[in-house]
């Protein structure tokens, strides 16, 4: 560990702690805690959404995937980006108009049913836990590599930091840590991409023709099919990526931090531009790493390719750039896990404690206390799980989170906003069908069962052939909602009229 790395690392820690201290003074009620009082501007929230999205998995994972598999690595970038169109066209504005603090609030704007709220809180917590373990395990491994400290200490450092941000600074601190990190990450990415481009004489043509001969794959590197060879699996993965974002609770929660639908709209625009530019630059990062670091060096550092971006930074800009990129990667991890803790805590404290147990009668003070306690428990629980899950393949946990979000949350969100006939029973069956089918199909997929010892968690023949079950579980989520609705007779057209008016006009008392 060099001095530069320690200085930059500590600067990030101090800066984020300062933000938390500043935010803590303003976080005096539940609204401030869950949604920063709805006071973020479109620009700020757009940066924060982009920040939530550009997790370590995106930054390090996609750069590594492109470096190792060429075009096939880029599939992720495309899926993640188009997902914003789904969010913008179908979900963002009605969600902002109907919801208050959580996804369950929005669904319950139509159904005053505890069962529906409980089901929504349950699927939120499930997704958050999967996503969180993935991020924490990835973070531990990464910090271990970057700074040469043991895995368990690395997980504890990240765990303690995220708890401090959320516990004291709530959504205000979480958002501002995210915004600062998004700016730093973009800065680092632009600098590396520019250095890569300079090495290729600022010519796209030169870049492609040099990369064509730079790897052992030769021409195949620039063509699809190097990694994804099972057509249905590829399409299923793309389906989970494009529909999952619109159901990820920590992304949806961001729409409650702005004052109205108009601001929600402008924040998606900002996020789309930033994320789009970032993903275009991942080509430069991946190609640069393939050409100037080389396949063998990348795989030697980490077999999944996660070290491609830091190693490229070192090859291009020496120790200083490598330290900067490592520090930014660390900030990225902290910001994303803090957002996850907050989302999980709000499902516990607001939905389960405040609305179900206390029936909406909890005082501000009680709900704040519950929110802080829930943050603490969510943090401790996920740290413990992450410590035990070191050997788990994190990529599969992330794709599972996307798949559950697309299967369990998206159908119920769309039905709530757009389907007149939809009812309480349908809402519950939609969530349960989606959630259970995604979990069960993954449990019997090649990720978990493989005839080859060591290739998956257990040895055995997979009962379901695809690694990503979205192509089956998403239709099942929609089907479940439809069956539940049609089989039960209840319907409340007046309530739908109210939801429709509010969703389309943004009217609030």
């Amino acid at each position: 560990m060099s001095t530069t790395v320690i200085v930059l690392f500590l600067s990030i820690v101090l800066l984020t702690l300062y933000i938390t201290w500043w935010a803590a003074k303003r976080t005096t009620n539940a609204g401030e805690f869950y949604t920063a009082g709805g006071g973020l501007t479109g620009w700020q929230n757009g940066l924060a959404i982009a920040g939530d999205y550009l997790s370590a998995a995106s930054f390090l994972g996609i750069a590594g995937m492109i470096a190792l598999f060429g075009f096939d690595g880029f599939f992720y970038s495309i899926g993640f980006l188009i997902a914003y169109l789904v969010v913008m066209f179908l979900v963002a504005e009605p969600l902002r108009n109907l919801g208050k603090y959580t996804l369950a609030d929005m669904i319950n704007s139509r159904f005053d049913a505890k069962k529906v709220r409980a089901a929504a809180a349950f699927s939120t917590i499930t997704i958050v836990i999967f996503y969180m373990i993935a991020q924490l395990v990835g973070a531990g491994a990464l910090i271990q590599l970057l700074f040469g400290i043991p895995y368990w200490i690395a997980v504890l450092i990240v765990g303690v930091m995220m708890t401090i941000y959320v516990l004291f600074g709530g959504m205000t601190a979480t958002s501002w840590v995210q915004i600062v990190k998004a700016v730093l990450l973009m800065l680092g990415t632009v600098v590396i991409a520019a250095l890569v481009f300079a090495r290729f004489d600022f010519s796209i043509m030169t870049m492609f023709s040099e990369v064509k001969t730079a790897t052992s794959h030769g021409e195949a590197f620039l063509q699809p099919g190097l990694k994804y060879t099972v057509p249905l699996d590829t399409i299923s993965l793309m389906l989970a990526l494009v529909l999952g974002t619109a159901g990820l609770p920590h992304i949806l929660m961001r729409f409650f931090t702005v004052k109205d639908a108009k601001t929600a709209r402008s924040s998606v625009v900002t996020a789309t531009w930033i994320v789009g530019i970032f993903y275009i630059l991942t080509i430069f990062l991946g190609f640069g790493a393939a050409a100037f670091v080389g396949h063998d060096a990348i795989v030697a550092a980490n077999s999944a390719g996660n070290m491609a971006a830091p190693l490229l930074a070192e090859a291009l800009g020496g120790d200083l750039l490598m330290s900067f990129v490592s520090a930014v990667a660390f900030a990225t991890i902290l910001a994303v896990v803090a957002g996850l803790v907050l989302t999980g805590a709000s499902a516990f404290a607001h939905d389960i404690y405040g609305q179900i147990i206390k029936k909406g009668q909890a005082t501000q003070k009680q709900e704040m206390k519950a929110a802080r306690q829930a943050s603490l428990w969510v943090s401790v629980f996920s740290i413990l799980l992450a410590l035990g899950a070191q050997s788990l393949n994190v990529a599969f946990l992330v794709s599972l989170a996307f798949c559950v979000a697309a299967s369990a949350n998206l159908p119920v969100i769309l039905y709530t906003i757009y389907w007149k006939r939809f009812n309480t029973t349908g809402a519950i069956t939609a969530m349960l069908f989606g959630l259970i089918s995604a979990l069960v199909l993954v449990a019997v997929s090649p990720n978990v069962l493989s005839p080859e010892a060591g290739a998956a968690m257990f040895v055995g023949e997979p009962l379901f052939p695809l690694t990503n079950p979205a192509i089956v579980s998403v239709p099942l989520g929609f089907l479940g909602g439809w069956i539940g609705t049609v089989l039960s007779k209840e319907a409340d057209a007046r309530r739908f009229a109210e939801v429709s008016v509010r969703a389309n006009t943004g009217y609030r008392e």
Binding site: Y84, F89, F208, W419, R494
Partner: protein, 125 residues
């Protein structure tokens, strides 16, 4: 399933429990607002804008993995060593940005319609 459609009194759904509808918050009759011409025009306009474009971008998006998985057409070179697969991929980015701009422009107009509905139908009624 009808996007943005609203239930009208005396429509053909006999099992709909109009009688047990919950008490409305305040005095606003949302069913009346939902049936008003202004509101129906707005939801109709939104539907006409959103539905075709959503179908379009999903078809455009899924065509990429379908074409790369089942055919080799995108593997032909387009410019120099850059194949059509890359051109198609980058075209998805351009489509996203263009649709983003189009959406914002169109919805700015809808904002005015929504304000009008709040003023005349909700507050005025």
């Amino acid at each position: 399933m009808k996007v943005g459609s609203v239930y009208t009194e005396g429509s053909t759904a006999p099992e709909v429990e109009q009688r047990t509808a919950p008490v409305q918050k305040g005095d606003i009759d949302f069913a009346r607002v939902a049936q008003s011409n202004r509101f129906r025009t707005l939801t109709e306009k939104k539907k006409k804008f959103i539905l075709p474009l959503t179908v379009f971008f999903l078809v455009f998006y899924f065509s990429l993995p379908i074409l790369t998985s089942y055919t080799n057409v995108l593997e032909r070179p387009a410019i120099g060593d850059i194949s059509w697969a890359w051109i198609y991929a980058v075209a998805q980015f351009i489509m996203t940005w263009v649709l983003c701009i189009v959406y914002v422009r169109r919805f700015q107009k809808f904002d005015k319609d929504a304000e009008e509905i709040i003023e005349t139908e909700i507050k005025g009624g």
